[in-house]
């Protein structure tokens, strides 16, 4: 039986937080001088004590020809794992064995030189990625064809549009012939057509030529299209390893406890407040509490109110705050005079309005600009998960809070 092509055993990478970033020589000398004289500052010891394990206890095996997806939130350790496997940095503990030629694609166009022509850059980039000159020569026509830059072969790439640049860079990478291909999020470049083409190339590489691929992405659609097996990373460890569909559902479904999307107010038995908020809950379309809402779904906030003494002119105040603590909006909605003592409000936001990310609510009963009757801040944390917005890699780019759809704006261009 053949040995697995990738074997990872207890791999871990630890960063010492105090040492991250550059040290100046002065700092270093100061520290050793203080150590020498015995007068350590409180900071000195802490610096060496703070450890952060970016990945820990990672073990898995990959058989030849498998295509493995790797998913997880930002900071879960996916990229660190790829860096370790691509030998960009050394692990702190553990071992990995790769039985075959490795090419990693953590970025497209690494090492492109703006002054060189497209053709020259193909050779340069190919060599950086591990191809020999003969291999590049053999593949040159294919690469040029894939990138669609035949006419510009002798143009310096500094004159290229960013789209052409990216196409060329991806084309080189796509024609590597390694036994193991490590890809990080590079499909998140170029226009939709090119992304489709790139994805097609990726699955062709894996299915027809039988390469082993490790593929990190935030785009679940891409993962489920080309990977049979997926690893889910969470806080530096592998949380799940199995069929892609199961793992993605696990990731999107109950990644966070549902509990904190529901808020129950602690109401004293005797309250002087005439109107109180009893509870708030973020729910999905069907009314079940959920902390993960897909971006294509409505976001609902159910609020239960006890109204002992209705105050005319009172309003519900709904305020949404994003993860950067920015206020997305504040909306006052008049409360109609209730018939019963218990009432329930439902506030719904249309799908595809908010940028994927996590948000919290602040809910209050107020008389605008006059009086706060009852209110709670930072409750009902929920996350909007991207399932088909046109944003590219929303977890690492700050797209603000609101997605502008076609009907929200106009844009004109004038040729002068």
């Amino acid at each position: 039986m053949r040995k697995p092509i990738i074997e990872v055993n207890g791999l871990g990478k630890c960063y010492r937080l105090g040492q991250i970033g550059m040290t100046s020589l002065r700092e270093s000398i100061n520290r050793s001088w203080r150590k020498f004289t015995g007068r350590t500052l409180p900071g000195d010891e802490n610096k060496s004590a703070q450890e952060f394990w970016a990945v820990r206890d990672i073990s898995f095996k990959v058989e030849r020809g498998e295509v493995i997806g790797i998913i997880g939130r930002n900071g879960a350790g996916k990229s660190t794992l790829l860096k370790l496997l691509s030998r960009i940095t050394d692990p702190t503990v553990g071992e990995a064995r790769l039985r075959g030629r490795v090419a990693s694609l953590l970025e497209v166009g690494t090492g492109f030189h703006p002054e060189l022509t497209a053709k020259e850059n193909i050779y340069l980039n190919g060599a950086i990625l591990g191809m020999t000159r003969a291999e590049v020569t053999r593949k040159l026509d294919e690469i040029v064809d894939f990138a669609g830059v035949e006419k510009f072969l002798d143009t310096p790439v500094k004159r290229f549009s960013s789209g052409m640049y990216v196409r060329l860079a991806f084309a080189v990478a796509a024609h590597l012939e390694p036994e193991i291909l490590i890809v990080d999020e590079v499909l998140a470049v170029g226009d939709a057509d090119f992304q489709k083409k790139a994805l097609g190339k990726m699955s062709e590489v894996s299915t027809q030529i039988g390469r082993t691929v490790l593929f990190v992405s935030h785009q679940m659609s891409a993962i489920s299209k080309i990977c049979k097996r997926t690893l889910l990373f969470s806080e530096g460890r592998i949380k799940a390893d199995g069929q892609t569909e199961d793992v993605i559902n696990l990731y999107l479904g109950n990644e966070e406890e549902n509990g904190n999307s529901i808020f129950h107010a602690k109401i004293p038995d005797v309250t002087k407040k005439p109107m109180v908020i009893k509870s708030c809950a973020v729910t999905d379309n069907s009314g079940n509490p959920a902390s993960i809402i897909r971006s294509s779904e409505q976001i609902k906030l159910l609020t239960k109110i006890r109204c002992l003494d209705f105050i005319p002119g009172s309003c519900m105040a709904y305020c949404l705050v994003d993860r950067h603590l920015r206020r997305v909006f504040l909306k006052f909605i008049k409360i109609e005079s209730p018939v019963t003592k218990e009432l329930e409000t439902e506030f719904t936001i249309r799908p595809n309005l908010l940028v994927p990310g996590s948000y919290t609510w602040s809910v209050a009963i107020v008389i605008p600009n006059v009086r706060l009757i009852d209110g709670h801040e930072n409750i009902c944390r929920f996350t909007i998960r991207d399932d088909g917005t046109d944003l590219i890699n929303p977890e690492s780019e700050d797209y603000g809070c609101v997605i502008l759809s076609q009907s929200d704006y106009t844009h004109s261009q004038i040729n002068c």
Binding site: T23, R87, L98, S104, H113, L116, A127, L129
Partner: protein, 283 residues
């Protein structure tokens, strides 16, 4: 495709385990880097390659005025222009290799954090591509050499013998010395970024510690051992001896210079290797 040995990734590779076979496998990358440096330099400006010629000529003029006319430092009986140019030839190659490689990690951070290849390829290729500037300067030197040899009365003192064939070896040694020092410096610089400010100061003082503007024969015999601790002293003297026929060389001192050069290179390799393992974590 040739079968590849198994790649084992584990912590703490020791410094002597530099994978030379792997560097050899990446020889195409080395050549392409060298070629890129040539092309990029050539393309950037029209004056690009001309600078390699103009700059040492200007330096020679300045040296002529200051050290020869004003300070009246003797030049071993040779025409000062040739004396300075010969010294600068070898010295400049060393200094260029040193300063071009001294910031390897910081200059290459972008690439190093995205793709793996044996990191030593970069300084190796820069050391080789600096031979372009060197050859242009050598050609310039021989123009001046021919003029002084055949059209000035001082020409008879200038001797060019068969031993000039040893000159390439001197240059190889100079390149290795420059590379060794640069590897040490870049490893330190990867950790202590403020060292970069020292670079031009180090290079400048080092030049004055090397017999470029003066002859080794001007240093009293009992102090020469100190001058010879500088691995560049003998190569620069040798350049003058081989190209002009006058220089203070003795085999023992030269052997010492070679040993110091190799020592610096070994230290540089090990420090560079240590730094490359985790440099990316500190970017």
């Amino acid at each position: 495709m040739t079968p590849q040995p198994e790649i084992i990734i584990r912590p703490h590779r020791d410094w002597w385990q530099i994978d030379w076979a792997e560097i050899f496998r990446y020889r195409d990358l080395l050549l392409i880097f060298v070629w890129r440096d040539f092309i990029a330099k050539y393309k950037q400006t029209i004056l690009g390659p001309a600078w390699f010629v103009i700059q040492p000529i200007l330096t020679t003029i300045v040296f002529n005025v200051i050290f020869s006319r004003v300070a009246k430092i003797p030049t071993d009986g040779l025409p000062p222009t040739l004396f300075y140019m010969a010294g600068l030839l070898t010295w400049n190659y060393f200094a260029n290799v040193f300063s071009a490689n001294a910031n390897t990690f910081t200059n290459q951070a972008q690439v190093f954090s995205k793709v793996y290849f044996p990191r030593l390829i970069v300084p190796f290729s820069i050391t080789i591509s600096n031979l372009l500037a060197f050859s242009l300067q050598l050609a310039t030197f021989f123009c001046f050499w021919a003029w002084f040899r055949f059209f000035t009365p001082a020409g008879d003192q200038i001797v060019l013998g068969w031993n000039v064939l040893l000159f390439p070896l001197v240059i190889v040694q100079t390149g290795i010395a420059g590379l060794g020092v640069a590897l040490i410096f870049s490893a330190l610089n990867a950790k202590y970024r403020d060292l970069a400010f020292l670079l031009s100061f180090i290079t400048q003082s080092w030049m004055y510690a090397t017999p470029v503007i003066y002859a080794l024969s001007r240093i009293p015999e009992n102090w020469r051992w100190l001058a010879n601790l500088n691995p560049l002293t003998q190569p620069v003297e040798a350049t003058k001896l081989l190209l002009l026929g006058t220089g203070t060389i003795n085999p023992l001192d030269y052997a010492q210079s070679v040993i110091i050069t190799l020592l610096l290179f070994a230290i540089g390799l090990s420090m560079f290797h240590r730094a490359e393992r985790t440099f990316v974590d500190t970017v």
